[in-house]
Structure formats: C-alpha cells, structure tokens
C-alpha cells in the first residue's frame, strides 16, 4: 500500500486487492474531506444566477459554522444606475427596522471623490448599471446576536474605472440566517456566490 507524497493519504498499490482493505475507501474519503475543510480561508456555501429579477433572497446561508462571510455579486441593471441594496433576514423575513442600517459612502470618479453618511431601513452595497458591475461584500457576524457590520466595494459598470466604497452597521442584535439584495429600481441579471470565512 502506498501513501500520497504531501498529505500521506493511503491508497492500494496496483498489486493490492481492494477487498483486503475494506475500510480504506471510507478512510481515504474522510481524510480528504477533513483536509479540504481544514485548508483554505474561504468555503463556498451557495451560489446561483438570476435573470431579470426584482430581488434575490438567500435563506439559511449564515450559520454557526462561520462568523464572517464574503458575498460576491455580479449584476447588470435593466436600466439606469440603481444602487444595489441589502436587508438581513431570518426565518424568511427581511428586517426593515427604520434607521437601523447606518452607512459611510465614498465614490471615486477620476479625480473627484465624494462622500456621505446616512441611516436607512436597508444597507447600500454599491451602484450597478446597464454594463456589468462587480461587488465584493464582507459581512461580519450576521449570525451572532450582536451588531452586524459590512464593507462593500463595487467596480461600477457606469464608469470605465469607478469605485463605490461603503461600510456600514446594522444595530439590531438579531441572529440572521440570510439576506435579500434588491436594486433600487428595475430588475437585474447576474449571479452571486456566498463564502464562509474560516474562523
């Protein structure tokens, strides 16, 4: 019987009879699974594509397995340049508590930098456009009964190289299990991935 050079996983030699090692297959599968879980910083939880939808809701993606998450969005708006917004949700219900989502925004367009601060009943993630935009959202502690915070950076499709950068908090100490993302107007087409960040 041989072993792999890096992780030392056992495997039957060509001359071995597999029947002589009845538990080897299961052991090997479990060793590989343990190593995959132990290595790497991001674990893909879920992902999907969407076409001409007014919103996307993802339930049960935030669990006790991970404290922090990364969500990748790519989206093309049906028209205009709507802001992609987000509400946290639990049990299939969005939280839209008034003034519970605070944000600090910065928008970079060539040499012009603008900023603002606001509170709302939803979070701003970034601007999408009729040309594909890409967003990376870090969400911290959504599944814990504590304040949830986030940071979202968007490559805006409206500009050849514009940046929409926003950080925010949600002041409700609720253990959320998911989120809903909605463009401020119209529909959107694209996809998303949710990753858990290894604790």
């Amino acid at each position: 019987m041989g072993t792999t050079p890096i992780f030392g996983f056992p495997y039957p030699d060509p001359s071995d009879l597999v029947a002589n090692y009845p538990a080897l297959g299961q052991q090997l599968a479990e060793d590989v699974e343990d190593e995959i879980i132990a290595s790497g910083g991001l674990s893909l939880i879920t992902g999907n594509t969407f076409s001409a939808v007014s919103s996307v809701s993802v339930d049960n993606c935030f669990t006790s397995t991970y404290a922090n998450y990364v969500i990748y969005f790519k989206a093309t708006a049906s028209s205009g340049t709507p802001v992609l917004r987000l509400r946290l949700r639990v049990g299939g219900v969005d939280n839209s508590t008034a003034a519970s989502y605070a944000r600090q925004e910065a928008f970079f367009n060539n040499t012009t930098i603008s900023g603002s601060r606001a509170t709302d009943d939803l979070a701003f993630l970034g601007e999408i456009a009729t040309v594909e935009s890409n967003l990376i959202v870090n969400i911290f502690s959504p599944q814990l009964t504590t304040i949830t915070s986030y940071r979202s950076v968007t490559q805006s499709g409206r500009l050849s190289a514009g940046i929409y950068d926003v950080a925010g908090t949600h002041n409700q100490t609720v253990a959320y299990d998911g989120f809903t993302a909605t463009p401020a107007s119209g529909t959107m087409t694209g996809g998303f991935r949710v990753y858990g960040v290894k604790n």
């Binding site: 809701s57 839209s96 529909t187």
Partner: protein, 80 residues
C-alpha cells in the same frame, strides 16, 4: 415582478412572483429612493451655485483662477 429565493438548508432555488407584502415594501423603497435622488439633485444644484458664487466673489477681490485653484482645490472652478 419576480424574485429568486434560494434556501441553502433545503437545497432549493425558486423564481416566484412577489407577495403583496413584498410588492408594498418594494414600492415604499422605490418612493424613498426617488425622494433621496431628488434631494441629492437639489443639493448638487445648490452646491454648484454656491461654488460659482464663491469663485465670483474671489475674482471680485482680484484673485486669478490659478490662485483660486491653489487655495481652494475642491472648488474646481477654473474658468480661465
């Protein structure tokens, strides 16, 4: 209007029509977004007017566009 609902626990993804409550919320969100856009446009117009007035006043005191650009780089009003 349709939305995508993904449930990781169930392993399901469904595209369905919005419920009446979801439609109501969407309409309220749209109204709020439009009001915010209107307010932002009004502020931008007021800021532009204030910038133009500030530049005009500085020029009335003898400052050139180059001087204004150096002293107040955020005015962005070099008309020379």
């Amino acid at each position: 209007m349709e939305k995508l609902v993904v449930d990781v626990a169930q392993g399901s993804s469904v595209v369905r029509e919005l419920t009446p409550d979801e439609l109501t919320q969407m309409e309220a969100d749209l109204a709020a977004a439009q009001a915010a856009e209107t307010a932002a446009a009004a502020k931008a117009e007021a800021d532009a007017a204030a910038t133009a007035a500030a530049i005009a006043h500085a020029k009335s005191l003898g400052f050139t566009d180059a001087m204004i650009a150096v002293m107040y780089p955020n005015l962005g009003g070099n008309n020379e």
